[in-house]
């Protein structure tokens, strides 16, 4: 079934279409949530809340071609994940670095297999991981991240710097387990 047809059926509250949409995207969206949340049960809760919002708001979705639905759902999952994180983590605790920061080069890191990169990112502490995900993977600017997490841009830059530094260290040590 085409994405646009699936959307139309979901907009009519068709339970089968909703289940089909869930079956198609639950896996990747769960891994997206897990990349932020890191705790399986909580990631499942976030996924559930996100899907409920998807189905309740799908009438407002305007398709812009294949793939736009997944992009829209990813945004919802990310927002839900950030909401969950904001309730449990203070992103302002990281000390902001002064002056211009030369970020560590992650070229070696980028040569790893996709699943290895995913696992190493998931092992980052919450603050580092969140900023790294938003900036490097999702492509948000530090200005946007500052608005999303109610932090300063400098804090965002500092956390990204520390995240990359830690990733590099993990790579040199051949893997690193870091607590949240």
């Amino acid at each position: 079934m085409k994405e646009i047809d699936l959307v139309k059926q979901c907009q009519r509250n068709d339970a089968r279409a909703q289940e089909q949409l869930y079956a198609q995207h639950a896996g990747s969206l769960y891994r997206l949530a897990f990349r932020y949340i890191k705790i399986q049960a909580d990631a499942e809760d976030v996924l559930m809340t996100a899907f409920i919002k998807v189905f309740r708001n799908i009438a407002t979705f305007r398709s812009e071609g294949d793939g736009s639905l997944l992009g829209w759902m990813r945004k919802i999952v990310i927002n839900e994940s950030l909401m969950w994180l904001r309730q449990r983590h203070n992103f302002n605790l990281t000390e902001a670095l002064d002056g211009a920061i030369a970020e560590p080069d992650l070229q070696q890191f980028s040569t790893l297999e996709a699943d290895e990169i995913y696992k190493m990112i998931s092992d980052l502490p919450t603050g580092y991981r969140t900023i790294f995900n938003l900036h490097v993977v999702e492509g948000y600017s530090h200005h946007e991240i500052a608005g999303m997490l109610s932090i300063t841009e400098n804090t965002s830059r500092s956390q990204l710097f520390k995240a990359k530094t830690l990733l590099k260290k993990m790579l040199s040590q051949g893997g690193f387990q870091y607590g949240t």
Binding site: N13, A15, Q18, E19, Y22, A23, A26, G27, S28, Y30, R31, L32, F34, R35, Q40, A43, E44, L47, M48, F51, I52, F55, R56, E103, D105, L106, Q107, F109, S110, L112, E113, A114, D115, I117, Y118, I121, N133, H135, V136, V137, E138, G139
Partner: protein
Amino acid sequence: MEHNTDNIIGNKVRDAEKMTASFKHADVWNKIHAELRPQTTSMMHYYVAASLLVLVITLAGYFINESQGKRRDRQLGLMEHTVEKYVRQRSTAPPVNCYDNSRVITNTEVCQSNHRTRKTVSDANAEVRQSVEIQTPLATLHETDAIVKEEVILPVVATVSDNNSVEPIIGVIIPQKKIIAVVKERKFKIRLFKIPDNSIEQKNTDPTMIFARIN
């Protein structure tokens, strides 16, 4: 360079998300479904309740109209039958001279009078004379050579006479306080008189109607 590295990492991470994820896929769906279902169910209940309400109102309206229609038809039919019968008999029979100028007799008495039962009519006169005062006409309907159907909220007595007021007059009262006079074939003048309250119920054994007869 750095930006390019970030893009490569970002693409790889998104690729990694396409891999099979092990989580409680069915449990999460069941929770989502359970969360969405009450909304669907309540909407369905709303529609069913609204439909039932509309159905009940429609049926009630139908039956009320039906019963009112039947009652009216019954009254009209009875009235038409009685008045037509009376008019038909009057048109072929000579005038009956045994009535007072102002009196009310029952349906039965009219029939009896048409059969020239002087004794019964006389008895009826004695009863009716005490019952109803015919007062100044409340209204006089126009003469007609067709069917006259008129409903008046009342209490009234309706009288029907021909134009020269020589012929006997007939009136019809329905105890439900509506009056309908139906006359065919001949030109009649219909006059409506107010009658005292309770007089009909007290003095007439036939609850469906009485006939007034005056000059």
